[in-house]
């Protein structure tokens, strides 16, 4: 009997299990969660022959190291990084065979923030509300990886996929352009604040995480000072806390919140937001 599992040799700064998340439970206070760069997670899954929604590992800046107990096919995608098997460099962004007991090293991101590590069969931890994702806001799903932890793998469901020609991996952005639709609470801010928001003054803050992309830049002044009763929040909502610096809500965002949302970032731009390193200039571009 093969032991379909991975042992964690180096956990990295923050490595979590992620799949498509658990949308549909926001009314119970359950965040959607799921891979921040869903595009990269889907592609990595396709390349190892998994369904797009299989669970993968999401690393943060400095990779991780794993020792599979069985022979596996893996793909490391998302943020570009060095990949090695037993010390030998292997391909990033393409299927790689790892023999049973070999050491798979996923290096520090050369550009971008989050690398995705997919394995044939997917990470097969116990699902919670239909998802294997780690939710860092409310603590649902598996704990972030720790050294010595063992992660079960599922059975392979198909041969590794082929992608002919140039791989459609997107490069992490030098400037993060986020299309934004103003509202529902843009009228809670001064006209000058809306001008500032769409101006050149913002950068990605190092306090960003899976809950939100925080920014540094000029504070947005409120036109309405009263408290906002708690209301529902969507993925991509740009919430403005009392310090006035906009926060773009990512997958682990709270389902309700009491600070006004000035606008909502187009969902197609959130994968790039997940890969923008601290210091990256952010430009909010209004769309109708």
């Amino acid at each position: 009997m093969t032991d379909r599992a991975l042992a964690v040799v180096r956990a990295g700064a923050l490595t979590t299990v992620q799949d498509g998340g658990r949308p549909g439970h926001a009314h119970l206070g359950v965040p959607r969660s799921g891979a921040l760069d869903a595009r990269a997670a889907h592609l990595a899954n396709r390349l190892v022959g998994n369904n797009e929604g299989a669970a993968v590992l999401e690393t943060t800046l400095d990779g991780c190291a794993l020792r599979p107990r069985c022979a596996v096919v893996t793909v490391v995608g998302g943020a570009p990084c060095a990949v090695a098997v037993d010390g030998r460099p292997v391909a990033w962004g393409a299927p790689v065979r790892v023999p049973a007991g070999a050491l798979l090293e996923v290096g520090r991101a050369v550009r971008g923030v989050r690398s995705y590590v997919a394995f044939t069969g997917g990470i097969f931890v116990h699902p919670v509300l239909g998802s294997r994702s780690t939710d860092l806001l409310s603590g649902l799903g598996p704990e972030p990886l720790t050294v010595g932890a063992v992660l079960p793998l599922g059975e392979p469901c198909g041969p590794p996929g082929r992608v002919d020609g140039a791989l459609p991996w997107c490069a992490p952005p030098a400037e993060l352009v986020l299309r934004i639709r103003l509202g529902p609470r843009d009228d809670w801010f001064t006209r000058q604040a809306i001008g500032l928001l769409t101006g050149p003054g913002y950068r990605v803050s190092s306090a960003s995480n899976r809950i939100g992309l925080r920014t540094e830049g000029p504070p947005l002044e409120r036109a309405v000072a009263r408290e906002l009763p708690s209301e529902g929040m969507v993925l991509g909502a740009v919430q403005v806390p009392p310090d006035g610096r906009p926060v773009v809500f990512l997958a682990d965002h709270p389902t309700t919140g009491g600070y006004p949302v000035v606008g909502v970032v187009d969902g197609r731009d959130l994968a790039a937001a997940a890969q923008a390193v601290p210091g990256t200039p952010v430009r909010f571009t209004p769309v109708l």
Binding site: L28, G29, G232, V234, V261
Partner: protein, 214 residues
């Protein structure tokens, strides 16, 4: 209080390109709209909506294919008042032994025994959830019993604590920091992901707190 919330009191705000925030004059109207949305969804009369998220005086509709069409439709709705007979109800056994119970009784200007009677005789409804999975904001206490949050939040509130803040009552599903006034405790599992449904309290659930014999 009229039997229906006229649709002219309802304001629909766009949220990105896939969601709507429906704003109502108050919490009661928001609860009535939420109940009506669930009723219409169950009857197959609502276009697909991935999330229906009620809150203090809004209902968020997220994952909507044609938000403009739905916004126009909503403006024409007549929203019936809440009907308790059609909603799920639960009883939660509780010990009124919270450390803030004397403070709450003092804020209400009554004895501790009277405070317990007031809370235990109220009929609650889960207006919305948030803060943590399975944490319900329960309405049912009259406005005159609204209480402030603690000036200094506790770093740890035990799981199962029954607590008050503003006009809301709530039970902490798990141990967490918290600023609400603690008036009691329960052994009921508010949140159990292995159970179906995982949340004991979901929006629209009717709740009664039943004092345990001591």
């Amino acid at each position: 209080m009229s039997a229906t919330a006229p649709a002219r009191d309802l304001r629909v705000l766009p949220v990105g390109d896939r969601a709507l925030l429906v704003e109502l004059p108050g919490g009661r109207e928001a609860e009535a709209l939420h109940a009506e949305l669930l009723r219409r969804r169950a009857a197959g009369l609502l276009p697909p909506v991935r999330e229906i998220v009620p809150a203090a005086r809004t209902v968020l509709l997220d994952g909507v294919d044609h938000p403009r069409a739905l916004a126009r439709e909503l403006a024409g709705w007549v929203i019936p008042d809440l009907d308790p007979r059609t909603e799920r109800s639960v009883e939660i056994p509780v010990r009124y032994d919270g450390p803030d119970l004397p403070d709450v009784a003092a804020l209400w200007g009554v004895s501790v025994e009277a405070a317990v009677r007031i809370h235990a005789s109220a009929r609650f409804r889960v207006a919305f959830c948030g803060f943590a999975p399975g944490f319900g904001y329960l309405t049912g206490l009259p406005q005159r019993y609204a209480v402030p949050r603690r000036a200094t939040p506790r770093t740890t509130v035990p799981a199962g604590s029954l607590a008050l803040a503003g006009v809301y009552s709530g039970v902490y599903p798990r141990s967490s920091p918290g600023g609400w006034q603690l008036i009691g405790s329960t052994d009921a599992a508010l949140w159990d992901p292995a159970r179906e449904p995982a949340a004991l309290l979901s929006p629209g659930t009717r709740v009664r707190f039943v004092p345990e014999a001591r």
